[in-house]
Symmetry: C2
Subunit: 202 residues, 2 copies
């Protein structure tokens, strides 16, 4: 029986989403599982839980731990990492572009997403700013200014809001999350389990 697809829900401001974005391509290829990249925003999801900031800022002990954990994880996986000077950075502009790419099934979506994550978590760049997002698109050989404008049209802004609503309806409360059929898996640590679930005879 064929593997079912895995929906990869990510947020550009999320540290552990970065780790999964860096790992998922090779891991899914080995497992023979097709991946659908699903950008969304954690802000509205966290607001439902009563937070107006990242829980890693709201809870300092958890935050201190997370930064050390990221150093160890990225070292283990060979992923470049430098703690950004601002956290969290807004992922809204980049998520609109990713959402626009997802809608028209652009093949550059994963490359774009990985480049944004790297800019944020390895190169300390201000991914929340329009110029940075356009420049990342340009660096991939894409027409950055045009794509950015299309991604910021009202219909596409609405599309991202609907993505985030869908995430909430799926029971998603953090990122990254993986959805396989009706099963939700939360956290970079669950990537292998989610791929195994997708690959198993359902």
């Amino acid at each position: 029986m064929d593997a079912v697809e895995l929906n990869f829900w990510f947020e550009f401001g999320s540290t552990y989403s970065y780790v999964s974005a860096a790992r998922i391509g090779a891991a899914a290829a080995r497992a023979g599982v097709p991946v659908v990249w699903e950008p969304f925003l954690l802000g509205p999801i966290f607001a439902e839980q009563g937070w107006d900031d990242s829980p890693f800022n709201v809870y300092p002990a958890k935050g201190r731990y997370m930064w050390r954990d990221m150093e160890r994880l990225c070292s283990k996986y060979g992923i470049p990492f430098a703690r950004p000077s601002r956290f969290p950075r807004s992922g809204v502009a980049a998520a609109r572009v990713a959402c626009f790419a997802g809608k028209t099934k652009e093949p550059w979506l994963p490359d774009f997403a990985r480049a944004v994550f790297r800019a944020n978590f390895a190169d300390d760049r201000e991914i929340g700013e329009a110029d940075e997002v356009r420049s990342i698109l340009d660096s991939l050989g894409l027409p950055g200014a045009r794509i950015f404008d299309e991604a910021h049209a009202p219909a596409n802004r609405q599309r991202l809001r609907e993505q985030t609503r869908r995430a909430s309806e799926l029971g998603i409360f953090g990122a990254p999350s993986f959805v396989v059929g009706g099963e939700l898996f939360w956290g970079n640590d669950r990537l292998e389990d989610a791929l195994a679930w997708a690959g198993a005879d359902q």
Copy 2:
């Protein structure tokens, strides 16, 4: 170079502590890492974070996810599991006994801890009640009534409070946590990383 020891910080009311308690004996033996069992209470730690209940009750989406995740994890590891009818159950009485056993380096501490976790998360027993804790001790061939009384003497109650204060000083904010030298690892998912850290040439 010899492996350094791993300190296993657990709370009897914690679902993921149960999973680690069931796994750590065999995993640590394979890695050649000595384990010190460190009971503590999450209540005072959660209170510092502003919660008067388990975060899995405070945040319902996270709670729904956790119960399904526990079913999958326990199935994967072959650990018996049944969602308890009360959650969380108080681990205070059992933690006092574990603390008492730890102080005198009683060899029955790991067996006692595993039996309490199983009673809570496989057999739906009221581990917060004195009779249940005494009966678990008796079932291990130990003098339950005597040990329970000694564990509830003022000096040992104070010992558990100090354990919990030590946990907080170590930066622990949840359970299970693993401490190896100065490194903190949080969550059942980090057991293998913590063992590797302990086994590596430090």
